[in-house]
Amino acid sequence: MAKVGTSFPLGEDNPAQYSFALEYEGPPVSRDLPRAVPINLKQIPVAAVVAQVSVAEKLSLPVVQPIVATDHLANKLSKELTAADSTVSPTSVIENSRETASKELDSASEIAVSPVASGIASGPRGGAKSSGELGSSGALEFSDGNCLSGELSDVVSTAHGLESSLISLEHSRELFNGAQSCSTIEFCDSFGKSGGSSQAFRVSNVGKESIDLDGSNRLDWVSSGSVLSLECPSSPKTGDCSESNNDVRRNPVVTFHDDELDGGLEEEFSRDEQEVRVRRQPQIKGKKGSCYRCFKGNRFTEKEVCLVCDAKYCSNCVLRAMGSMPEGRKCVSCIGFPIDESKRTNLGKCSRMLKRLLNDLEVRQIMKAEKLCEANQLPSEYLCVNGKPLCPEELLMLQTCLSPPKKLKPGNYWYDKVSGLWGKEGEKPSQIISPHLHVGGPIMQNASNGNTQVFINGREITKVELRMLQLAGVQCAGNPHFWVNEDGSYQEEGQKNTKGYIWGKAGTKLLCAFLSLPVPSKSSGSYAEQSNSLLGRSVPDYVGQRMLQKILLVGYSGSGTSTIFKQVKLLYDAVPFSAEERENLKLTIQGNVYTYLGILLEGRERFEEECLSHMRKNRSSGGNGHIENHEEKSIYSIGPRLKAFSDWLLKTMVSGNLEAIFPAATREYAPLVEELWNDPAMQATYSRKNELEMLPTIANYFLERAVDILRLDYDPSDLDILYSEGVISSNGLACVDFSFPQSAPDDYTDSMDHHDSLLRYQLIRVNARGLGENCKWLDMFEDVGLVTFCVALSDYDKYTPDANGSLTNNMIQSRRFFESIVAHPTFDQMDFLLMLTKFDLFEEKIEQVPLTECEWFDDFHPLVSRHHSNSRSNSINYSPTLGQLGFHYVAVKFKRLYASLTGRNLYVSLVKGLEPDSVDAGLKYAREILKWDEERVNFSLSEYSMYSMEGSS
């Protein structure tokens, strides 16, 4: 904590300008100087805290050891304190406060009844135990108290043993600081938690590090404090930034404690108001109904109640005490704590007071937050189903099923999984919820405390139910055991045939209503239906956050990330592309085909030119016949109509507004394209497509079907979409939510699998450009669970100009990008999965171009048997192909690189973006890594290293 004193050097450097301890030179003050308020010892509310220790029961309170010397010690301390105080002129508020507090301490230790007092008193000796006591005496805010008292004990232990009076003064001052904040929490809940703890820190710091500094500065503080309080009497905030002021604000003038919230904006705080509060403070003990913050008002004033700690605030204070209410109506210090269960019914029900104070929109936001925020949800362990407390997932399942139990309150319930009957333990069924949910244990025979000896699904039913069964015409003689399904069909145990439907008759439902027994709701469908709809249901936001695993998909441009992304959409999305998207896709693909055609036409012109010049040369040298020349020319030349079209297309391409002419062009030129494509000149050009560098390899796929694609009624197939370029905006970011389809709906024996259906994954695809040059925005992705880095294997012989304009190998650029991402501080502990893509192209290429083309791979010397081509068929004597060897080699290269950068293992998988199974396998692998990541903590280190991914290298 280097915070202490950092604002001081300024003042010391340049006292004329920044010192706030200036002597007061202004005109005579018209107001009264603050005067010491006479303190009545009996009115000091130290011991009263005990009344509120109800919360503390949850803590296992350390028992205070009876220390004989306690009183003596405390007395000594406080005596020292008062002695030290007397050396300073007791004119200012601070002095007054100090005196007050010391007396407080005094009286407390003398009386020695309250836990606060004993806690403090035993502090120097009792250490942590006493601090625990101190904390719990804070009653309302025990975490705060604990933290603070922890610090306190720390200080105490460091300061312990030092005999100097200065230290002990310091020490005791801290003590009463601590004590005071503890005792005041009770009245003053607005006291920020963080503020409290940081103050505690500060206090401890004072004790530990800068004791002498403190001592020497003490007088200065006092004077500066008093000057300040004179100078700005209406400001309750004499400063947050200096420790002197910190001390000032610790005095028992209550208003100072909510400074964290109010700050200086509130000029309405005037001195006299503070006086009033000081006077009022002791009285609130007797007055039960007053506001917890301003201590005004009575039982009949309208008040808002904190959902956690039951503190009540009047309309003046509620906004300050509750701040921005991120979790609804809670004191600032209560944020994050579960609500008082008795107030659950009030959740989301707005009071008139809030409506008056805030506008409609604001109230709506608060109520929404109150109902939906995670901290306010029913804690799952409070719910027992069939004698087994629920885990959060089970509760979630219960709440998100098709017909969830209404008005879930903490308590014990029974649940008949077969029929969906649901009720409170020991009572008749209250509702029929969705059956077959995996919540709680098996149902018990005496779940509803029946005594009829008639059983439904292993539960002895109650008299009312039996009555209903009898009236519904079910034969109940002989204490039968029934087996009732969710649709109401019942059979006797051990028999196959269905005997009838309980709720089949209209009269039964009426009867049930009369006996207040449940009937199945209409919506409850079969199990399979449910599990499907579960995926589509909108789960609460906080659940969504927890259940969503994010996978980041990055790669250098051209590394196949978009293909994988599209494949995922096609694989897992029920509706991969909406009608609108499809229309856009169609236009994009058609535009691409036009571009390819344009490139071809350009090539054609070039070839024609070449051909002609070649001709001319031939003619000039050889002087062949005119007719032959004409024939030669016609191989690449086209008719005037097509020529016009070609010129027009090239012109629009050059001007760059190819997109603008759509979709009008399709209508007009579709027949023309057919003619063009069938023209021998085009076919001749197409056969020389390898000479056209501009033409991407993918173009073949589309050009072969150019005529089909450029029709008006063309509907892109999934494969077309996969192959097409630029479908997913290449400059931005795209994300898709998906979940792995359940393999089989009936294998619900494994509960883990069942939770998986709720687990959703989000694939976020970013390309290198979208991230910016130095990955400036990578920290936005700190919450992803796994980074998938794509590298195109076939890139090893491609060169593109890099940022500096020099031609660089694509593989090297990929590596550079990989390094920068791996080394990025955001991904410090992130797992990486390397997906090596475009293996099909790689296999072809490696036969022709050696892998050593890329300088990084110059030590690739594969041991390939000469007969590798036919050894593939020989399964016994299998030797890997050159492509596979190359893949393993590249994988190891990246693994080594990764290990040298991070010291961890890189996961590698081989993916062919165009094959759905391959992408599916790759993503399942990613899922395994994510799962493994969660479970890794359970394994010891040695096991982990054993588990490491050596297999793929």
Partner: protein
């Protein structure tokens, strides 16, 4: 002219420039015979000094669940819009510290937001390369989401910054990772002009921040990863009016001085600088030696309404309040006891200058205001 010759001349020119700079610096030192305190005394006035109570935290706006990345104030009324990593934008009432809207964004990776001058709509931009306009008055749908009323698409990189042209609800300027700034017409959703880009003399790296001149809304400034700031005239899209060099790192933040004749920058090199647009000079450098080898980046800057204070947020969690005249740190908001726990990512001073809002990685926003009483004689 051969390359060697050119290089030689370049070297000579660089030397000349450096010597001129040195002379300039000397001249400034020579001319600097007074300081603010002395001048004020000579004028018979009391020097305005700053104390620790000048800015105290008076509100904490809690509600985001992710890092806050950007915030903006409405010109009138006390409302703030903020966007966060949780993929929401929240509209706050700064006085009551309550939310009036909490809207889920279609793309969660949002970097910037802006309030329209009329306070009726909000613009957000982020990694999806689109600037989305939300009309706060339009009805929410079943899930409580607000429909996007206009998508401004056309950028080829992330939208790093956006600002409405003052007093014009229909125009907006964005800065983007595709090295350009764009002036948009919101009613049509089309680009009015593009500043920079491939064939023009624009930024050579990602634009990170834009700021429009408050007194002359035709001029705006942009800061970029190429460690320069450029001044643009919206009528002349073809080239920048002026390029301001000096920074040695990415310029993360630019902000016009309230009088519109100067602007401040904050950069990855840990400095803030003040430039004058009339002379093109760098007026002041604000740099605090932190002693540690890692230099904290400046993430965001803002000027007080008078311009006397420059507030700068740093990547290490500090937030210095600089005296613009003296280039001295008045306060460090980051080290006050009730300050943010994470780095401060965005800053904004309300239109009337009465309050400062900071957003931080600790998911909170805090409002700071003057906490004492000052008598100015």
């Amino acid at each position: 002219m051969s390359v060697a010759e050119l290089k030689e001349r370049h070297k000579v020119a660089t030397e000349t420039v450096n010597s001129l700079r040195e002379r300039l610096k000397q001249k400034r030192v020579q001319l600097l015979d007074t300081d603010v305190a002395g001048y004020a005394r000579a004028q018979g006035r009391t020097l305005v000094t700053f104390g620790p109570t000048d800015l105290v935290c008076c509100r904490t706006l809690q509600g985001h669940t992710g890092k806050v990345y950007s915030l903006d104030w409405t010109p009138e009324k006390n409302r703030i819009v903020s966007v966060s990593q949780d993929g929401r934008f929240i509209v706050w009432n700064a006085l009551t510290s309550q939310k009036t809207h909490a809207i889920k964004l279609p793309c969660a990776w949002v970097m910037t937001c802006a309030f329209a001058p009329n306070g009726q709509s909000v613009a957000c931009g982020g990694l999806d390369s689109v600037c989305s306009i939300f009309n706060l008055n339009s009805p929410v749908d079943r899930d409580g989401n607000l429909p996007v009323s206009r998508m401004l698409s056309g950028h080829k990189g992330y939208v790093s910054s956006c600002q409405y042209v003052p007093d014009e609800d229909a125009h907006l300027i964005t800065g983007s990772g595709d090295q350009t700034c764009v002036l948009w017409d919101i009613t049509t959703g089309l680009r009015t002009s593009v500043f920079g880009g491939e064939f023009q003399s624009g930024h050579t790296a990602d634009v990170l921040s834009v700021s429009i001149n408050g007194s002359n809304s035709r001029m705006f400034i942009s800061g970029s990863c190429d460690s320069t700031a450029r001044l643009w005239d919206t009528r002349v899209a073809s080239r920048a009016v002026h390029t301001y060099n000096g920074h040695e790192g990415d310029v993360n933040a630019v902000k016009f001085f309230p009088d519109g004749n100067r602007f401040g920058t904050g950069s990855d090199d840990g400095t803030c600088r003040l430039f004058d647009i009339r002379t093109g000079h760098e007026l002041q450098v604000y740099y605090q030696q932190s002693g540690i080898n890692e230099i904290p980046h400046v993430t965001s800057i803002a000027f007080s309404i008078s311009g006397r204070l420059l507030i700068a947020g740093y990547s290490n969690g500090d937030c210095y309040v600089w005296d613009t005249l003296l280039a001295q740190v008045v306060l460090n908001l980051g080290q006050l006891q009730n300050s943010h726990e994470g780095r401060i990512t965005c800053l904004g001073v309300s239109a009337d200058g009465s309050a400062l809002c900071t957003g931080s990685w600790d998911t909170n926003l805090k409002i700071w205001a003057f906490g004492g009483i000052r008598r100015v004689t």
